[in-house]
Amino acid sequence: MIKTIESIGRSSINIFVTLRATLLLAAGIILRLFSRRAYNSASRMVFINQFYFTSVQILPLFLFVAVIFGTMVNGMAFQVIKNLGLTDYLGRLLMGFVVTEIAPFVTVLLIALRSGSAINAEIAVMKVNRELNTLKIFNIDVIDYLFVPRVMTGMLSMVLLSSLFSMTVLVTGIFISSAIFGTSVDDYTGILLKSASLPDIVIVLIKCATFGFFITLIPIIRGLNASEEELTSIPVAVLNGMVRVFIAIVIIEVLSSIIRFI
């Protein structure tokens, strides 16, 4: 009985300590996002490199996925709508489901799998190799130099790529709606504009930025938890980081749905 209570207590303390460290680092990064010191020449270089790896290098794969996915989803959804006689809901389906739910979700999965894991491994390697110690010795703040540019890139990339995904899916929708319903481009655009709502778009943008923040913050924190000079701690750090990123994605998705539908 005592052992069980001890184990519950230990787990609770661990969760509390981890959560506290995460929140403190998150608060530190958010504060530095507004600090001029974080925008020096070295941090800008990290930002540009990270933006290139996260948002530019992924473009061919991303566009391919967006076109294939858009064609599939639009094709199936439009056919079902037609069969059920719910043609009036076409715009609502595209704006309320594809733009606000599917686009951010697919984008966050792609960025988390590609850049989240890379950031996690990179920080873990730096910790194991004592390169973070180098930065400390030369008075280079790791939050300014390493974390702020990565978190900013994560947030910006999520917003931009999710918008690009939505645009691609909506453009493929033009051809599919024309084939299934015989709608013209003008009619299709009109339906979309009528269904677009500002609160929904604001929520999507906030959701994308939140996704971007956490899919970079969590890998950074897990990378920092790797042990110095212990190579085996790198895969463990990446594994733990990616599991937590997935949990964070699910939590943000659920919370945003609750906010939208209440």
Binding site: S41, V125, E131, T134, I137, F138, Y145
Partner: protein
């Protein structure tokens, strides 16, 4: 152990001007050699990328090491690694250069000639130089005292 403590004490006393050359301060592996050198001025003086790169290039040419410009840490031999660490340390403004057991980096060197020669090439950038090493390694530097 005393050497470690003494070194830590010295570093914390001169924290703002320390340019450390040590195995405990390795080069950043995901940066190229010139980026490792330029980083210090880019961060502390907000020096534009091209200007910092040109300084790094000039310093590399002093060491006759232009060939390593785009390489990474893992591609360097011990002598090259030592020189790059030295150049990085020299990028600190009014640098107090600290060489922490140089022969742990220069594993192929038997005496201090290489160290002294490298130091001479950048002595205009350094305010003071200190070498921290074990007492039994003192003889390695004695032959070069006159330099």
């Amino acid at each position: 152990m005393d050497l470690e403590r003494e070194l830590q004490r010295f570093i914390s006393e001169h924290k703002d001007r320390i340019g450390l050359v040590s195995m405990d301060a390795p080069l950043i592996s995901n940066l190229s050699i010139w980026s490792n050198i330029a980083l210090i001025r880019q961060y502390h003086q907000n020096m534009p990328l091209n200007e910092a790169k040109n300084i790094a290039l000039e310093l590399l040419s002093r060491m006759e090491m232009e060939g390593v410009l785009g390489k990474r840490n893992s591609a360097l031999d011990p002598e090259e690694r030592f020189c790059i660490m030295l150049l990085r340390a020299a990028m600190v403004r009014d640098a107090i250069l600290v060489l922490d057991r140089p022969f742990s980096i220069l594993i192929n060197q038997r005496d201090g000639a290489f160290v002294m020669d490298a130091l001479k090439k950048i002595d205009d950038l350094i305010a003071e130089t200190y070498i921290f090493d074990y007492s039994w390694a003192e003889s390695c530097y004695e032959a070069n005292n006159d330099q």
